[in-house]
């Protein structure tokens, strides 16, 4: 009984931490994005609310909350709301399998900084990732607008295409690690003294492409396509509901997929790696906190990389995006898979 | 937990026929990918060559037997026999498809390799005791059938038939695998031999599983009262495919039943005999009765196929060697008769105003004597007139029923054969004794005429001289019954 209670307590703490990161930081990332975008375009960005616009997200949030609750006529109210839940919940749940650092001990209780360390962690990621399609498709379908439907279908088409690519792309690291557990994959990388990105550059690139496509970031942001489709599938959503979609897509998902990318390709919480030799930790002075910092640092860098792309590149056409996935990326994943299978024994030694 | 299985290299010499078919399928696939325009002559040639090599391999290695892939795959005389027949049927079919599909304007290159995969699934279905293999093979055959049924451009009936088959076929597979689940739960093994030879005290789960499993297969073979899909699927399908489903499909779907039959007899003999014989009786009576009132010949032959399932099942109901022999012989026999009769329809359907109605057949003897006589041979064979294969099959079934003293079933069989006389004879009478005209002239190609003739000769010859095929059947049945 005791152990159950302690377990629950630990779980709750972990959840609170995750939520804080996801929603709190997620909200503030809007500001980061706007600032980064502004500076890329050589303008200051939000400057009015608070110091350098530091309170801007709060203002935005207040604005969104106090809008009227609208619902398009002839739509399907249940699906309309369900779409939101289907978008938000799975995306957030992905964080349950993200390992933030190595196992540590507090008050005699061993704690892994990961909510659920299961042996099929990665499968869970992709299962939850696939759920995102439902949210998008339902949103477009339920709001009974041509623009929304077209947008959502495009988006669903792209997600569907890249879902396949991403699934095949991660097989390489899995072969090398011989496990599906996120925690274990990181540990294997530390044991093998190797970030998998060194052996799997192709997989990493493909993964990044898919991540951009799945999260609707430029250059794959056709579902938004302000110029043609207004804002795609969110066109009939208002207020907080409207706010939630970009939050989920642009921040929560990007964060979670970046975290997974870090786990798969950058050795999770491990410091800088020299292949097959060892790790160099310039942040050694942080002591036991250094792994967490490393992890967050890598995720942040990836996130900023995405932002950088977003505000630099032009947008691809929808057919180009979809066909790239099937005709170029998928064959490449096959190649990568076969190649990995061949040189995997080198890594295992 | 099971101990770690050592990885061994499979004995591939046993699966060479399957491998050849597989390679053929992929060759066809590759050709289809390479060529923008489908060259049907090439496709047909490649397929037939592949099947021929496979067939020759089976024929030239008659003693091939053993198991490989950790016992997942069995090659014994039964599988060799049924596979050889299946290969022959497929080759026969290919000789007729091009002209048919051309007339229907539905030439698809996909057809050839889907057919090959279908054949492959059937070959695996005949040669395994493992539930997984059976399941996968069953699905492969079924899915190929769904596709082949619907490959008729702009024809609503074919889509309708395919959909109905898909739903009921999916149901049957779900139920069969549900049964497999219970059997697995009972025994912890997926091998039917293991399951049915290690029977404990409490047999309820096993019986439940077995019943579900057989129930699924009963749907697949169209046993009454689970036959609803069959007439529609048969009628909707392109006619050569209908013939293929009737002949090859029967072989494929009956094969697992044949394998189960010797296994159940030690523990469930009575239950087996009663259930199967009741279903068999219902099947043959219903099939023949409904066939009697059909106006559409294709549908009529579909019901006749149901009835023949009943005959074969009554042989299977007799859990003895002779029953197995009878069932095997009848399967092979029906394969030839069935495909023959449907192939005749295939040729006839090229006529522009042909609708498979009864009256379309009147006077066929005058406007196409050769096809008419082949048709008559097939009809008499289906009816069971000596010395055709149909007769020998029925005699063998009678023999096994007599051995088991299942007199009532024998009488039901006599009754249903009596009913069947009505509709088979009606076709013969229409073809030969009614006057009728056909404005457009039917010109079957030389190969079609030759093959139909060959088939009808075969139907008579295998019945008149059963020795040509009997040794294989006899050995197969005995091996299956006694184990090796």
């Amino acid at each position: 009984m005791d152990s159950l209670l302690i377990n629950l307590a630990v779980i709750l703490i972990k959840i609170v931490v995750i939520l804080a990161i996801v929603l709190g930081v997620g909200a503030y990332l809007t500001l980061v994005e706007r600032k980064v975008a502004a500076h890329i375009q050589r303008r200051p960005g939000p400057m009015v609310v608070g110091w350098h616009g530091l309170l801007q997200p709060l203002a935005d949030g207040l604005k969104l909350i106090t809008k009227e609750d609208l619902f398009p006529r002839y739509g399907n109210k249940f699906l309309y709301n369900l779409a939101l839940i289907m978008a938000l919940v799975p995306a957030t749940l992905v964080f349950a399998v993200v390992p933030f650092g190595p196992e540590f001990e507090v008050f005699g209780i061993k704690i892994k900084p990961i909510l659920t360390d299961v042996n099929v962690g990665l499968l869970l990621v992709f299962a939850l990732g696939s759920m995102a399609v439902y949210g998008i498709a339902l949103a477009g379908w339920a709001s009974n607008s041509k623009y929304a439907l077209i947008g959502s279908m495009r988006k669903a088409g792209i997600v569907v295409s890249y879902e396949v690519v991403i699934t095949f792309a991660v097989l390489g690291p899995i072969i090398l690690a011989g496990s599906l557990s996120t925690y274990e994959i990181v540990q294997k990388q530390i044991e093998q003294k190797l970030w998998y990105v060194w052996l799997q550059p192709l997989a990493f690139v493909l993964y990044m492409f898919s991540m951009l496509a799945e999260t609707g970031r430029v250059p794959f942001d056709v579902q938004e396509a302000e110029a043609e489709l207004v804002t795609g599938f969110t066109v009939e959503y208002g207020g907080m509901k409207f706010g939630l979609f970009p939050l989920v897509e642009w921040y929560v998902e990007v964060l979670s997929l970046s975290a997974i990318a870090v786990v798969l390709f950058f050795g999770g919480w491990s410091p800088i790696n020299i292949p097959f030799v060892g790790f160099v930790d310039p942040l050694f002075f942080l002591g036991p906190l250094s792994p967490y910092v490393w992890f967050l640092l890598k995720v942040t860098l990836l996130f900023l990389f995405v932002l950088w792309l977003h505000w630099t590149l032009p947008r691809y056409r929808i057919d180009q995006i979809a066909e790239t996935a099937w005709k170029i990326m998928l064959p490449l994943t096959f190649v990568n898979l076969a190649a990995t299978a061949v040189f995997a024994p080198i890594v295992w030694r | 937990m099971r101990e770690q299985v050592q990885i061994e290299f499979p004995n591939l010499s046993l699966v060479v026929p399957e491998l050849i078919v597989l390679v053929t399928a992929f060759t066809l696939f590759t050709l289809h990918l390479i060529h923008k325009r489908v060259n049907h002559a090439l496709f047909t040639t490649v397929s037939i060559t592949g099947y021929l090599i496979s067939l020759l391999y089976i024929l030239l290695n008659p003693g091939l037997s053993g198991s490989t892939f950790y016992g997942l795959y069995i090659r014994d005389p039964v599988s060799s026999l049924l596979q050889a027949v299946a290969l022959v049927l497929t080759m026969l079919l290919l000789a007729f498809t091009y002209n048919y599909y051309k007339a229907k304007r539905s030439l698809y290159g996909e057809f050839y390799y889907i057919l090959a995969f279908c054949l492959l699934g059937g070959m695996f279905l005949t040669s395994s005791y493992n539930l997984i293999i059976l399941y996968v093979a069953l699905e492969v055959v079924s899915i190929s059938f769904y596709i082949m049924i619907s490959l008729l451009r702009g024809d609503f009936l074919s889509k309708e038939g395919a959909f109905k088959y898909l739903i009921l076929g999916g149901l049957s597979i779900a139920i069969a695998s549900y049964g497999a689940g219970f059997m697995y739960l009972y025994s912890g093994s997926l091998d039917l031999r293991y399951i049915l030879s290690h029977i404990g005290e409490d047999k309820r789960l096993l019986i439940l599983g077995l019943v579900f499993f057989l129930f699924g297969f009963a749907i697949k073979i169209g046993a009454v009262p689970f036959h609803f899909w069959l007439p529609d699927a048969y009628q909707g399908a392109p006619t050569p495919i209908t013939g293929y489903m009737a002949s090859f499909g029967k072989i494929a779907f009956f094969a697992p039943l044949l394998r189960i039959m010797p296994l159940v007899q030690s523990h469930f003999e009575n239950a087996w005999v009663y259930t199967i014989s009741i279903i068999a009786a219902l099947t043959m009576l219903y099939g023949n009765l409904v066939a009697l009132v059909q106006k559409d010949v294709k549908r009529m032959l579909a019901y006749s196929s149901i009835a023949h399932s009943g005959y074969i099942m009554s042989a299977i109901a007799v859990a003895k060697v002779i029953g197995l022999k009878a069932a095997l012989y009848f399967l092979v026999a029906y394969a030839f008769m069935g495909i023959g009769s449907f192939l005749v329809l295939t040729v006839l359907e090229r006529l522009p105003d042909w609708q498979n109605r009864l009256e379309d057949f009147s006077g066929m003897r005058f406007w196409n004597p050769s096809v008419a006589s082949y048709f008559a041979v097939f009809m008499f064979a289906l009816l069971g007139v000596p010395p055709t294969v149909g007769f020998v099959g029925k005699a063998l079934v009678f023999m096994s029923l007599s051995e088991k003293q299942l007199w009532w079933l024998a009488f039901v069989m006599i009754l249903s054969t009596a009913i069947s006389t009505g509709y088979y004879l009606r076709l013969v009478v229409l073809t030969f004794m009614k006057e009728g005209t056909q404005e457009s002239i039917l010109r079957p190609s030389l190969s079609e005429r030759f093959l139909l003739g060959l088939l009808s000769v075969l139907v008579v010859l295998l019945g008149a001289l059963p020795l040509l095929i009997w040794p294989y059947i006899s050995v197969a049945a005995e091996v299956l019954f006694k184990g090796w």
Partner: protein, 102 residues
């Protein structure tokens, strides 16, 4: 650690199977009917996985894997046929595809 009892798996599996069968018989929409067959196949999966949990074996999971894969293939073909039906005639109910009777 308490195991989930076998009965729980069985109950869920039987329920799913029942729903699948009911759906196939009672529902009219083509896609729904197709989904019902998938439901029935999922009942099989649960049965196998439950059996595995009960027997401490893994063979059943392999079976389940094959069921998933082939169910997908079947669904793909089924959807294709439904689309073809829809293109030929704008129907979406099993009541309307009854050209063949008898």
């Amino acid at each position: 650690m308490k195991m989930i009892p076998l009965e729980a798996y069985l109950v869920v599996s039987v329920l799913l199977m029942g729903l699948g069968l009911l759906g196939m018989i009672a529902r009219r929409n083509l896609v729904t009917v197709l989904m019902s067959t998938e439901l029935a196949l999922n009942a099989v999966n649960i049965l196998f996985v439950g059996a595995d949990a009960h027997l401490k074996l893994v063979d059943g999971q392999i079976f389940a894997l094959f069921v998933i894969a082939l169910a997908a293939a079947e669904a793909a073909v089924g959807l294709g046929i439904i689309i073809a039906i829809f293109r030929l005639r704008k129907v979406d109910s099993t009541d309307e595809i009854t050209d063949m009777r008898g």
